[in-house]
């Protein structure tokens, strides 16, 4: 019982900052502090008219969509290889691919910065951010897709080939439908990570900032803080919606292959 109370207290600790967000987003005061004064939607209206924000949002969406696609494609390759085939150095290679998960992000950021600017002199743009985001999102994609692929019986594709299908059509007719929920979940997660990522984007972003980089700029001006709260509220709501979709899809995928659900992502 004490354990349950502790766990609930812990959840409160986890959610404390997020609960504050909408409070201040609708608060009719320019200072972010208690006590609250009154209700307003002014900060949301300001969001509508800020051109720089819209550009940042477009940038971030572009980056996040491409990151989601690319990291999921790489994730499918790795997860399928890991679940279905044996090859030399398998553990080592699969471990190496997961390394960006534990690497300090600043290391990823500065090393890619050096390569892009000093060695190849390609200049910073959305593409440098995408390259880095794919690198850090791929391990998450692999982790999610591993779940989908490991539940697959390798005999399943063989059965399809035994029944006359080619290697590719066996994959398309049998494996793909079974892992589809995992693929969509992976894309949603990668999209969410990329949309929210700041540490690397700050180093690698080009002339047009991404959304978090833009927010970072706003944080320095106290007058713009209520707008940040409003923006944050929208982003949090969006993230929760996306994550809920991803989770529901993951569960549907498990149910489709008739498995009992045993845990969440990763």
């Amino acid at each position: 019982m004490t354990l349950r109370i502790y766990a609930i207290a812990y959840l409160v600790f986890l959610y404390a900052p997020i609960i504050l967000l909408p409070l201040f987003a609708f608060n009719d005061a320019t200072i972010i502090a208690f006590p609250l004064s009154g209700f307003t939607t002014e900060w949301f209206q300001q969001l509508m008219t800020t051109q720089a924000l819209h550009r940042a949002a477009q940038n971030s969406l572009f980056i996040a969509v491409l990151t989601a696609l690319l990291s999921t494609i790489l994730g499918v390759c790795a997860a399928r290889a890991g679940a279905m085939y044996d090859f030399p150095l398998k553990r080592g290679i699969l471990g190496l691919v997961m390394i960006p998960l534990v690497l300090p992000e600043i290391i990823v950021a500065v090393s890619l910065l050096v390569v892009a600017v000093q060695i190849f002199d390609v200049g910073l743009s959305n593409w440098t951010v995408i390259a880095a985001h794919v690198l850090i999102c791929t391990p998450f994609s692999i982790a999610i897709l591993n779940g989908a692929f490991q539940n697959l019986d390798p005999a399943m594709e063989e059965a399809a080939m035994d029944l006359g299908e080619s290697r590719w059509s066996a994959f398309r007719l049998v494996t793909l439908p079974l892992v589809m929920p995992g693929i969509i979940a992976s894309m949603l997660i990668a999209f969410t990570i990329s949309l929210d990522e700041f540490i690397i984007a700050f180093f690698l972003t080009g002339a047009n900032p991404t959304m978090p980089v833009y927010i970072w700029g706003l944080l320095r001006f106290p007058a713009s803080l209520p707008v940040v709260m409003a923006l944050g509220t929208i982003l949090v709501a969006l993230s929760i919606a996306l994550l809920t979709c991803a989770e529901l899809l993951r569960r549907r995928g498990m149910a489709r292959v008739g498995l009992k659900d045993k845990g969440g992502f990763i």
């Binding site: 900052p17 997020i18 279905m84």
Partner: protein, 275 residues
């Protein structure tokens, strides 16, 4: 099949890492890069006390964050694994992971609102009469950095421990009690050793990345709470001394890796010593 992700990682990680190591042996004056091989950057890090102090503080903060995060996380992972009905486990995990995925920058900033001079904690404590003056030791120092990072990395610690606990065959616990151990001693003789791989994973997955965070110290740390990542960032983006920044990043990586390996090694010895 595995080659596309492997090639990508090699291209985007191994190659840049090599580049940055090479870079750390060069020097830079304003915008001109001098590519003669030199240990000057490392010498500077070794000789100027500011770098050692920053590194020390960074490792201390990462260590504290890891300790706090893992100790706070273990009971939650234990609760979800052992006391939550199977069909509700994924809901709990989902609730635990959600805050982790949502706007990192704004979350950090909100801790400032919670811990600040006119923040939630202070106004709350004054209202219920526990204190007269706002507390000042909870913002713009190392404490604030630790609290915020412990919050940010919580799911990272809970998930691996949860996975390890889930793998424990429940009949082992019954066997232990059948052989005369109490519930309490069973926890220490069976559950904890078997959960150790998860704890080790949690420690590494929190300890290593926290060293690279510069947002939290920047927003929460005040003047005395800056860490090595802030210095790396400054060298690269403000001072245009990328080689020194690179050397600093490498030194930080080496320290973290060495401590992690030592931890894994000590843990193995401890587990072997027990069995």
């Amino acid at each position: 099949m595995v080659s596309p992700p492997l090639i990508y990682v090699l291209l985007m990680l191994a190659f840049p890492m090599g580049a940055i190591i090479l870079f750390s042996f060069w020097t830079q004056e304003f915008m001109t890069l001098d590519t003669t091989f030199t240990l000057a950057n490392y010498r500077e890090i070794w000789e100027k006390p500011i770098f050692a102090a920053l590194l020390q503080r960074s490792l201390f903060v990462s260590g504290c964050v890891t300790l706090v995060t893992v100790i706070l996380a273990f009971p939650v992972a234990y609760f979800v694994s052992f006391h939550v009905a199977p069909e509700r486990k994924s809901l709990w995990l989902f609730l635990i992971t959600i805050p982790f995925w949502t706007s990192y920058l704004i979350r950090v900033f909100l801790w400032k609102v919670i811990l600040g001079y006119n923040g939630v904690v202070n106004t709350g404590l004054i209202k219920i009469g526990l204190i007269d003056e706002p507390l000042t030791f909870i913002l713009y120092n190392v404490n604030a950095v630790i609290i915020t990072l412990a919050h940010a990395f919580a799911p990272f610690a809970i998930l691996p421990i949860f996975v390890a606990l889930e793998k424990i065959d429940r009949s082992l616990l019954e066997a232990s009690q059948d052989l005369g151990e109490s519930k309490f001693t069973t926890f220490f003789r069976v559950t904890l050793p078997l959960a150790m791989p998860g704890v080790v994973a949690a420690v590494l997955i929190v300890f290593i990345p926290t060293i690279g965070d510069y947002v939290t110290p920047e927003l929460m740390g005040g003047a005395g709470g800056k860490l090595v990542a802030n210095m790396i960032q400054t060298q690269f983006l403000a001072l245009n001394n990328a080689p020194l920044g690179a050397a600093l990043a490498i030194v930080a990586m080496i320290c973290v890796t060495a401590i992690s390996l030592l931890f894994v090694f000590l843990n193995r010895r401890w587990l072997r010593g027990r069995s």
